[in-house]
């Protein structure tokens, strides 16, 4: 983990100075084809240096004893600097204290197994206990096949914890990013009080290839893209990456709890 921690610090150092006016940098980044990581997202969303990650260290979990799974995770951990497909913690955004989770598709297409499910559940529980808003940037290919039925159970678990948080007055903002599909789309991603979608993100339950095979026809251009979701009534707003932070600050202000 030493590498991962150093990696993380390095990332924050790199982007901290950009905090004052990130717009030109973000606009440039939108044209960039380098992977946009959870660290990039946090640096572009949270107030500089304010993010503190939860300790989510998890024992090595391999419910199916699936050949090569733990080795693959280890390699990815070294390559990406994250333990699994999500980073979760607290931060301030425009001065508002918030619980923030960011999924990172470099890690097995950000599929959801126990680690991701647990991160979301703990984040919602922390937000609940501390009366903080919860913001999740979702991205995922769906449930993690290598964890089998236990991955499917994470859909029920995350939905239950988030529902409880929401029922007791918590604000949950879901920001759907590219791609949000399968078991993540069909659970906590779609349960936001407010749901934003990043411009051009692919969002759906079944993947386009599976749908085309099932119905035997080609899908129209733009099918399951952010604007399509807005048109069909599934998201509040489609937002460019460069304005997500300011949109979140607005929403946090609108939901501020007066003491």
């Amino acid at each position: 983990m030493i590498n991962a921690v150093d990696n993380r610090k390095d990332k924050f150092r790199r982007y901290k100075k950009l905090r004052k006016d990130p717009t030109p940098y973000l606009e440039a980044l939108e044209k960039d084809d380098k992977p946009y990581t959870a660290f990039d997202r946090i640096a572009d969303t949270a107030d500089g240096g304010s993010f503190e990650s939860f300790d989510l260290s998890c024992p090595e979990l391999d419910p199916l004893n699936f050949t090569g799974y733990l080795d693959k995770k280890k390699t990815l951990e070294e390559e990406t600097g994250i333990e699994d497909a999500i980073v979760a913690g607290t931060c301030t955004i425009g001065g508002y204290k918030t619980v923030l989770c960011v999924m990172d598709k470099r890690f097995m297409m950000a599929s959801m197994g126990i680690y991701v499910g647990e991160a979301v559940a703990k984040a919602a529980e922390y937000a609940h206990e501390n009366k903080l808003p919860l913001i999740i940037f979702t991205a995922s290919g769906g449930a993690r096949m290598q964890e089998g039925i236990v991955a499917l159970m994470q859909m029920a678990k995350t939905s239950a914890v988030i529902e409880k948080f929401k029922e007791e007055g918590g604000l949950y903002i879901s920001v759907l990013t590219d791609p949000t599909t399968g078991g993540v789309s069909a659970s906590f991603a779609m349960l936001g009080d407010i749901t934003l979608a990043e411009e051009d993100a692919l969002i759906g339950f079944a993947g386009p290839r599976v749908i085309e095979q099932t119905i035997g026809e080609k899908l129209p251009k733009g099918f399951q893209r952010a604007d399509f979701l807005k048109e069909h009534g599934h998201v509040d707003e489609v937002v460019k990456r460069s304005v997500i932070r300011s949109k979140l600050i607005l929403l946090l202000k609108l939901h501020e709890r007066k003491q």
Binding site: V150, A160, E163, A186, M190, L191, F205
Partner: protein, 258 residues
């Protein structure tokens, strides 16, 4: 019996369907149709019936006995309207204090164009969220194929039982093989590693009991009776919190506790 043999047994067209269980186990069944928004999707069947002397809400995937019937009920693959109907019936069960009994037998939610337009993800997510807080007992019987989110969307239950040749998995073995090995023909191998049999799920603590198939309807009757009896003295808060804990426990520690 190999896992793949159970997968095939679970899919056998001659296997008992939800309609057979309703005929055998309940009386006075009244079918309720429609999502009250735009459509009746028959891939999920639901209604009110008597189980012994108590009214219950019955909900389950519907597969047909022949091709025509299967086309009508879309081979038991629900679209969003079917999940919304199920949700409507569950909320009504809560209002009238009726236990909910669900029967699971589906290849999965329908991967279609309209399903996406009409919000299938949200429909499934809503069912998961609402079932986790429903203030009446929910009892699930996995009778055939329990595949993916389409199965889970009616099985966030206090008690789950599986017939001995039923299967319950994150995806079909074909889908699993296709995603992980880019080869859906490795279905049998997928089935063997996926831990999808009733025994596997019992060991994971996902299901409470495995039901013999010698006399399936009788076994299902006994299971429902036991579960209802066990849950009837619990308060509404206890019903909700024990169900919540059942699903919350799939955390970093549960594998070690087995």
């Amino acid at each position: 019996m190999e896992a793949i043999e159970r997968v095939l047994a679970a899919r056998d067209p001659g296997r008992l369907k939800i309609t057979d269980y309703i005929d055998a186990l309940f009386t006075d069944f009244f079918e309720q149709r429609g999502d009250r928004i735009c459509k009746e999707d028959p891939s999920i069947l639901g209604g009110i019936a008597m189980f012994d002397d108590i009214p219950v809400t019955v909900i389950g995937h519907r597969k047909g006995k022949d091709v025509d019937e299967n086309i009508t009920c879309n081979f038991g693959m629900p679209g969003p309207e079917a999940f919304r109907k199920a949700l409507r019936l569950m909320k009504q069960a809560e209002k009238f204090d009726r236990p909910v009994i669900t029967f699971v037998d589906t290849p999965g939610a329908y991967p279609g164009k309209e399903a996406e337009m009409n919000g299938i993800s949200r429909a499934i997510a809503d069912n998961l969220a609402v079932m986790s807080t429903l203030r009446v007992p929910i009892i699930t019987i996995v009778t055939g194929e329990g595949s993916s989110g389409g199965a889970l969307a009616i099985s966030v239950a206090n008690r789950i039982y599986m017939l001995e040749n039923a299967v319950y998995s994150v995806l079909s073995p074909e889908g699993f093989a296709s995603i992980l090995w880019h080869d859906s023909k490795r279905r049998d191998e997928a089935a063997s590693v996926m831990k999808l049999t009733a025994k596997d799920l019992y060991e994971f603590g996902i299901v409470e009991g495995i039901l013999s198939e010698e006399d399936p309807t009788e076994e299902v009757r006994k299971a429902i009776k036991t579960a209802l009896c066990d849950l009837k003295d619990k308060t509404k808060e206890e019903i909700v919190s024990e169900r919540y804990e059942k699903f919350r426990k799939f955390d970093a520690g549960f594998l070690k506790n087995e």
